[in-house]
């Protein structure tokens, strides 16, 4: 499995650290349902058989956080982008 890092180019996946579900949104701790939302955010993640949005960290490269869309049935990488660019939108 090789990931096309937008900065470094195509690299083997062993250069990267995997964080998992990229759909994670930190809940607002002040809202009334915060505790239930945190349980949901920390423990209950998407686990699809198919395209999966996930975060990878290029540890042995440029140290960027990447948002990768990957098919969990075939390991095919469908899209890669810097996570910080997406989070600013």
């Amino acid at each position: 499995m090789r990931i096309q890092c937008p900065f470094c180019g195509e690299r083997g996946f062993d250069e990267f650290l995997y964080l998992g579900d990229g759909g994670f949104v930190r809940p607002d701790a002040t809202e009334p349902q915060a505790q239930a939302r945190f349980v949901e955010a920390v423990y209950f993640r998407d686990n699809p058989a198919g395209p999966h949005v996930e975060l990878w960290y290029h540890e042995s490269g440029c140290h960027s956080w990447l948002r990768v869309i990957r098919d969990t049935r075939t390991h095919e990488i469908l899209a890669v982008a810097f996570a910080h660019e997406l989070s600013h939108r």
Binding site: D14, Y43, R45, N47, E54, H75
Partner: protein
């Protein structure tokens, strides 16, 4: 026609040219309705069906399997059985399982090749020895055999290890003599045969494609062989659990990950027990055919592919060579991957679900094989009585919300690290 396996029957069949043996289980065609449907024809699902029929007297049971029985993780593990756990809910549960393993062949009248050759966890630092002493003491408090062994013991037992390794010096280990291995396929076939003879319908090539539900009640399943109604539906589908629950809009604290396992070419008897390298993640035993069966870490990313990547193969083999350098010329024969239902604290879930009529047996991470008999029995208890078995009452689905996590490795909600 011969049904029971015994020396007399074997001798009689030998004179008849072995023409009297019949298939060990009945390949059933689905009926319109059952009392209980188990989704997943692996070892856990078949064990559940067997104990439901044997102990709890449920008669109309079906086990649905999308491929052939034992084609998932039941046939993809490294066949180790042990009960050397530290935390209270796990220690008695896995010990119960080991006790069931000890009587399994007589129970099923099937040779599951349970071999209590022992397991040793090597320790490589003072801190690790302390941690093993603590774990061993926890085991002994539960009446389980555990022994802290020194380096001389290790030298006598396993003289081929690298005792000159400066980076990971072997200091001793934690030994459990009653641990060992079992033949995984035979476990599947043994439970299938025993369940089938008690009237359980084992239905292969029957993939669940949806659920029949009325409001918050599950009434049955839609399958590739048509609709089947059921009083209760139990999921024992390992890595596919999330895909099934997603059909009901149910999210679970589970990620599916790929774990690879390996077998070498056959060697003369070398490794007399199960061996765990304490400084890396590497476990190995030698099968009766002579192949070294070994494994290591998960690949580390979500996967349903049942195959992994080469860097992990390299990493596992490096770990093995770090502790057994003499394996350097041994050739790898096969490697394969299984889809693990990694839970968020590394411990399983045997519980009811928010939906009526739907029960869950999942989150076995990569320790499910050794749990097979106890998992089946406790899940059968839950399905039959609608209340948890006392040994599995902590394996609750709501523990992630209440904070009663069972995290043996203490790494938190990081499924790829458990």
């Amino acid at each position: 026609m011969t049904t029971k396996y015994s020396f007399i029957n074997l001798a009689l069949e030998a004179f008849r040219g072995h023409r009297g043996w019949k298939p060990v289980w009945r390949d059933a065609i689905p009926k319109a309705a059952y009392d209980i449907i188990i989704v997943g024809g692996g070892a856990h699902g078949l064990a559940t069906a067997y104990y439901l029929a044997k102990i709890y007297g449920v008669t109309r049971i079906a086990v649905l399997e999308k491929g052939w029985i034992g084609s998932g993780n039941a046939g993809r593990n490294t066949t180790i059985i042990r009960s050397n756990y530290l935390l209270p809910p796990n220690t008695p549960f896995y010990e119960f399982s080991l006790k069931l393993w000890e009587g399994l062949e007589r129970e099923l009248n099937y040779n599951t090749m349970v071999s209590q050759r022992g397991i040793v966890y090597l320790c490589h630092s003072d801190a690790q020895r302390d941690a093993y002493a603590r774990r061993g003491n926890a085991m002994r408090l539960h009446g389980i055999d555990a022994e802290l062994v020194d380096i001389d013991w290790i030298r006598r037992k396993l003289p081929f290890l690298d005792f000159e390794n400066a980076r990971f010096p072997i200091q001793g280990g934690l030994w459990q003599g009653r641990a060992g291995t079992a033949r995984h396929d035979a476990v599947v076939w043994g439970y299938a045969r025993a369940a089938s003879s008690l009237g359980v319908d084992i239905i292969q090539n029957c993939e669940v494609t949806g659920f029949i539900r009325h409001g918050e009640q599950v009434l049955g399943v839609e399958t590739s062989q048509g609709e089947i109604r059921a009083g209760k539906v139990g999921l024992a589908a390992a890595g596919s659990t999330s895909t099934l629950s997603a059909m009901l809009g149910l999210r679970l604290p589970i990620e599916s990950h790929v774990l690879q396992a390996f077998v070498s070419e056959a060697l003369k008897p070398l490794i007399p027990c199960v061996l765990i390298f304490g400084a890396g993640h590497f476990y190995v035993s030698q099968s009766d055919k002579g192949g070294l069966v070994f494994g290591g870490d998960l690949d580390g990313y979500n996967s349903y592919a049942q195959r992994g990547n080469l860097p992990t193969v390299e990493d596992v083999c490096e770990s093995g060579l770090a502790i057994i350098p003499s394996l350097g010329r041994v050739r790898l024969l096969r490697s394969w991957g299984g889809v693990m239902d990694m839970s968020m604290d590394g411990s399983p879930i045997i519980d009811r679900t928010p939906l009526g009529g739907l029960y869950l047996n999942a989150g076995w991470c990569y320790g499910g094989f050794k749990a097979t008999p106890a998992s089946g029995l406790c899940f059968a208890h839950l399905l039959a009585r609608d209340e948890p078995h006392e040994l599995a009452s902590d394996y609750r689905l709501d523990r992630f919300a209440t904070g009663h996590l069972i995290d043996e490795r203490g790494v938190g909600a990081q499924p790829n690290l458990h």
